[in-house]
Amino acid sequence: MDVTESDLPGVGKKHEVDIGGGQQLVIVTHNTGTRELYLKASDDADSEKLVELSDRMARLVGTILEGAYFQPVQSDHVETMLAEGTLLEWFAVDPDSPLVGETVASADVGQRTGVTVVAIQRDGEVIPGPMPERTIEAGDTLVVVGDRGSCDDFERLLTGEQ
């Protein structure tokens, strides 16, 4: 995936995302927070303005695109970059996962993998900052924070690959 960032002095920033087929999605982020979306049909074509979004609207649309707002696929791998190298990831707990029945404390994922469980999604509800005695059940979605290596370790632990 190819993203080019450039500065527009006095205006804001421009990101060009190569979306395949020679097409580019151009996002102009104004200093005021307004986002403008353009489509460039080919390298030589003029950018065609698609839509202009307020800061708030852009964030909402962003979460939808990201899948954090609604996930069409029961994915066990959705991630968001929090900062350079730190990821926020969603993991589905399968019934045959070794972690089913463990408490947050007994699973000890912090020591074993380096990630922190920041929330559990269960039956459409979110349990933020789960207590150590909270039990992990099949069908839960665990929201964890950690660097890429820790998240990979956690995924192996969760699926019992270790």
């Binding site: 500065d7 527009l8 002095p9 006095g10 205006v11 005021t32 460039k40 003029d46 065609e48």
Partner: protein, 403 residues
């Protein structure tokens, strides 16, 4: 006398100018100037509405100070959005496009200025006036036309950054030369003082970041705005008091705030302040203009338009090529850079301060009227060239191909 009614008429008039600008889809800056000209005392004196004399707006202290603040905030923002690191990062391309722009247009301006006014100082002023493109109008046109998302936006904004940096130094020297009088020694001293002050501000901007960071550390927007305005206007006032360009001082204060974490807050909070006083500045430009002088400078303006439109198109085209753009987009860069505006007017305001000091009163007012008329033409011409760029682009492609 500056009464509230006069100030009310001023703001209502510029607000109407804004409405008209939206309606006709043109830049508002020339309209502000025209409104100022229409409401200047020479026109409104003697007019009475229902027995009440029309309020005098021009020449009032509020307009003078408001215009000064407009200059200060325009330059403050320039500094705020100016990023030295970024300039250094892409110095090769910006440098190449910027030097072409400077060499061609400033050079042509020097020759033109001397040919028109037969005075070396006038030549220096005219060179600055025809060199500096309008960041405000060009940036707005880029956004309106959607060019902002295209490749041509980069050389244009890059050249503008180069021009802004140059103009900060230029204004320092020009202001000192203009107020320094004809005595070479006095002029040298005032240039020296100005440069020393600028170096001091530059050091402050470079090393004062932690202090500026702390100075604005507050959760209240109210205090944040007041502190930023307090620092900026105070430094600008000190500069003016010791004979240094207040505009340049404001530029460096802006630059000092640029690396702090408050830069986005400042941009959002102070933008309306800047726009309010910038409107007063353009209005003041109109008020100070004597339209009866236009016929006498018409020939000069025509000559300047004929010379400096092609030079900007040429330098912009070459600048676009320096950014590896094809002929079509390079032509757009050239067309876009034609617009002159606020900074030319700031230089004209500097020229006015030299009346009877370093320039004869007639010459100062001739340069001033020349600039106002020139900016009125170029701001409209430049935006039109951008709007109707197609025939020029076709010409460029036919002449130079597509690569």
């Amino acid at each position: 006398m500056a009464d509230l009614l006069g100030v009310g008429v001023l703001f209502a008039a510029v607000a109407v100018a804004g409405v008209v600008a939206v309606r006709v889809d043109k830049s508002v800056i020339p309209l502000y100037i025209v409104v100022g000209m229409v409401l200047s005392p020479s026109v409104t004196d003697g007019i009475a509405v229902a027995g009440y004399a029309f309020p005098t707006i021009g020449g009032s202290e509020f307009v003078d100070i408001g215009a000064e603040l407009g200059i200060v905030f325009l330059l403050f923002f320039l500094g705020l959005e100016f990023n030295l690191d970024r300039l250094v990062e892409s110095r090769q391309r910006i440098g190449r496009a910027g030097l072409l722009d400077l060499g061609i247009n400033f050079g042509a301006g020097l020759l033109l200025g001397f040919a028109l006014f037969r005075d070396p100082l006038a030549a220096v002023l005219v060179a600055g006036i025809v060199y500096i493109s309008s960041s405000a109008i060009i940036t707005k046109s880029l956004i309106d036309l959607g060019w902002i998302a295209n490749d041509e936006a980069e050389p244009m904004l890059g050249s503008l950054v180069f021009e802004d940096l140059f103009i900060a130094v230029y204004l320092t020297v020009a202001a000192a030369l203009v107020t320094g009088g004809s005595d070479v020694g006095a002029a040298a001293t005032s240039v020296g003082v100005a440069l020393a002050f600028i170096v001091g501000l530059l050091l402050l901007a470079r090393y004062g970041t932690p202090w500026f960071e702390r100075a604005l550390q507050t959760n209240s927007n109210e205090y944040k705005v007041l502190r930023a305005v307090g620092v900026t206007v105070l430094v600008a006032g000190v500069a003016l008091a010791i004979g240094v360009s207040e505009a340049v001082a404001a530029f460096f204060v802006g630059m000092a705030f640029a690396p702090t974490s408050h830069v986005h807050d400042l941009e959002n909070l102070l933008e309306p302040v800047r726009d309010t006083f910038a409107a007063v500045f353009f209005f003041w430009i109109g008020v100070e203009t004597d339209p009866t002088l236009f016929p006498s400078v018409a020939g000069l303006v025509a000559a300047a338009v004929v010379v400096t439109t092609p030079t900007k198109i040429l330098s912009g085209y070459l600048g676009g090529r320096a950014y590896d753009l094809g002929p079509r987009r390079s032509m757009r860069v050239g067309l876009g850079m034609v617009t002159r505006g606020e900074f030319s007017l700031i230089i004209a305001a500097v020229a006015l301060t030299g009346a009877g000091v370093s320039l004869s009163t007639d010459l100062a007012s001739a340069i001033y009227s020349f600039t106002v008329a020139y900016v009125l033409v170029m701001s409209v011409l430049g935006t039109m060239l951008m709007q109707y760029s197609e025939p020029f682009e076709r010409f460029a492609v036919e002449r130079f191909g597509t690569k």
